[in-house]
């Protein structure tokens, strides 16, 4: 299987929203490629007639009744937010004037 290039490592870090330094990215590039060598061995396993398993213990998963019940008070929920005001969590603007489209 393919080897991860530096550009791919940077792309995956961006997808994962991990802001990493150049040194951290370099270290990860080496480590990830060693681990990918282990993964590559799976390609040798014949799974042409095997179904994928997402969960092995197959059980009915009944949904709970859709009835109203008490929820946590708003101030309890928002007290862990780094910035909140009037029962709302403060978030930075997601649109900017320079945004394309």
């Amino acid at each position: 299987m393919s080897k991860l290039t530096r550009a791919e490592v940077e792309k995956v870090a961006a997808l994962a929203r991990l802001g990493l330094t150049e040194a951290e990215l370099s270290k990860l590039e080496g480590e990830l490629n060693l681990i990918l060598e282990q993964w590559a061995r799976l390609a040798q396993v014949d799974t042409s007639h095997v179904a994928a398993t997402a969960q092995t213990i197959v059980q009915p998963m009944p949904l709970r009744d859709d009835t109203p019940g008490p929820s946590l008070p708003v101030d309890e929920v928002t007290r862990n937010a780094p910035a909140h005001v009037g029962g709302l969590i403060r978030v930075q603007a997601i649109l900017s004037e320079e945004a394309d489209g």
Partner: protein, 515 residues
């Protein structure tokens, strides 16, 4: 009982003493916190102590025992089995108005607004919740060295790791800071530290215990389970936390086995080994296994045979692919679960400078430690366009093969698989930190059971170079009571073995003398 006796007592012994009026939960609590105060600067098992609430819970328990004693034997028998029994919680179990860190800087300062279902159940059962224990960040690790907060040492040897990721919960029980603790096991994080610290540690069947309120790592693998010093105690704790929970759709409606509260003891337990059929998988005696570990495990198997068990070697051929499969599936699920740590709703935040994206990058880049970053990167890559089929779907297919290996063993009529838990005894700090794959390999014998959703338990089976070795029993789905019955049988068979009377060597050194 003296303070030294109280801290060493099992949950069962404590319950009997409370009923007889020969000990109180308040006395016990004082003995445990005194030990923690003397020793935890060295041990490093605890991240948070819940002194005031625990004291109130101990007083309430003593009041109930006193009232029941005055009323008579029927009232005493009706008390819940964990009443007044202290339990430590791995610091990824949410407790209301209490910090939860999951061993990570990204949750520094987080205070939970609610109780996990297992916390609700333990409180209802009358348990005393002592506090929260150290762990590898987000349960990713096998030595607890990836905690962002502190180092936890193995009470058997201060220069060695306690295993992980539930290393704090294991060290706390091994060092007699608590009779019971809660861990989580995604690839071996209960069984492996139990093995390295000489405890009983069980990963129940997937779905047996609710995960509501427990910080998620890999949701198709994570299970919650007990650490204890005896099989009976592990069964008591498992019984209290198990069962369907409307808040966790993956929790099972499978009925609880009442046998958990009535495991056989002594000669009856030992006699129960006769006629049992055990499968010994040759692939679990992996390359790199320490000879002393293999010797202790094979001796344990011989002891079972001598007691009348039938042991046959079997082959589980997909085992060799379990490690790679696990290290695709678990990071993939982790990368999705950990996407929630965005620095906006809770936890440490890097938002403020720059735009929203800059805030995410800063929050997550600074908040996650090295192993968590590695796993998020691996998982994001495995799930990314162009690689999803080659890695993630392929791993899910190999996962089917791993599950089928086990199904063949059950179809052949075996009661359980017997195997080593860890290929090694506790290793020295730093020995695997520079090499992620060597750290991952330490879970080679435990993670197949997670891939198949099966229950497994590690029980002490001797010492190698003076350090504990664990014997692993893996069973068919929902066979926890049967596995713990076998464990109780093995305990009875080896009750007089010399290694059983050895206490962790560095216990006295943790406080500079007194225990």
């Amino acid at each position: 009982m003296t303070a030294a006796e109280l801290r060493r007592a099992s949950a069962q012994q404590l319950r009997d003493a409370y009923k007889a009026g020969s000990a109180t939960a308040v006395e016990l609590l004082a003995a445990l916190y005194a030990a923690i105060d003397r020793e935890d600067a060295q041990l490093g098992a605890w991240l948070y102590l819940r002194r005031e609430e625990a004291q109130a819970e101990a007083l309430a328990a003593d009041t109930r025992y006193a009232a029941a004693r005055a009323e008579g034997p029927a009232a005493l028998a009706a008390l819940p089995p964990l009443l007044g029994i202290p339990v430590a919680l791995k610091d990824l179990v949410n407790l209301i108005n209490t910090p939860t860190t999951a061993g990570s800087r990204i949750l520094e300062g987080y205070v939970s607004p609610y109780d996990a279902t297992i916390a609700t159940r333990l409180k209802a059962a009358g348990a005393i919740l002592l506090g929260k224990t150290n762990m590898d960040e987000f349960a990713m690790g096998s030595s607890t060295e990836f905690s962002a907060y502190k180092k936890t040492v193995n009470p058997w040897a201060r220069d060695r790791v306690p295993g992980g990721s539930s290393g704090g919960s294991a060290a706390a029980v091994a060092a007699f800071h608590a009779p019971l603790s809660i861990g989580t096991d995604t690839g071996g994080s209960i069984r492996q530290p139990a093995s390295l610290t000489g405890l009983v540690g069980m990963k129940p069947t997937y779905g047996r215990v609710s995960r509501y309120g427990i910080v998620a790592f890999a949701s198709s693998l994570d299970q919650v389970g007990p650490f204890a010093r005896t099989a009976h105690d592990a069964a008591l704790l498992l019984h209290a936390i198990s069962g369907r929970d409307a808040h966790d759709a993956t929790s099972s409606t499978e009925p609880l086995d009442a046998q958990l509260l009535n495991l056989p003891a002594g000669d009856a337990a030992a006699a129960g080994i006769k006629g049992r059929r055990f499968a010994l998988p040759k692939e679990y005696f992996v390359a790199g296994m320490e000879p002393g570990v293999e010797q202790a495990v094979r001796e344990a198997v011989r002891a079972l045979e001598a007691a009348g068990a039938l042991v046959e070697e079997v082959s589980l051929p997909a085992t060799e692919h379990a490690l790679a499969t696990y290290y695709i599936v678990a990071p993939a699920e982790a990368s999705a679960n950990l996407a929630r740590f965005d620095g906006i709703r809770y936890g440490a935040s890097g938002h403020g400078e720059g735009n929203l994206l800059d805030g995410y990058l800063a929050t997550r880049g600074r908040g996650f430690g090295p192993e968590v970053r590695r796993r998020i990167m691996l998982g994001t890559y495995a799930l990314s366009a162009g690689y999803y089929d080659a890695y993630y779907v392929k791993a899910q297919k190999v996962r089917t093969l791993i599950a089928q290996d086990f199904e063949r063993v059950w179809a052949a009529g075996f009661d359980a698989i017997v195997a080593p838990t860890s290929p090694q005894v506790a290793w020295r700090f730093g020995a695997k930190m520079a090499d992620p794959i060597s750290m991952y390999l330490s879970d080679a014998c435990t993670l197949p059971a997670n891939m198949a959703g099966l229950p497994g338990v590690s029980i002490p089976c001797g010492l190698s170079e003076g350090l504990p070795v664990g014997l692993q029993l893996i069973g068919r789905p929902w066979s926890e009571a049967s596995l713990l019955t076998i464990a109780a049988g093995y305990e009875a068979l080896t009750a007089t073995a010399a290694w059983r009377s050895v206490e962790p060597h560095d216990l006295a050194a943790l406080s500079g003398g007194a225990t």
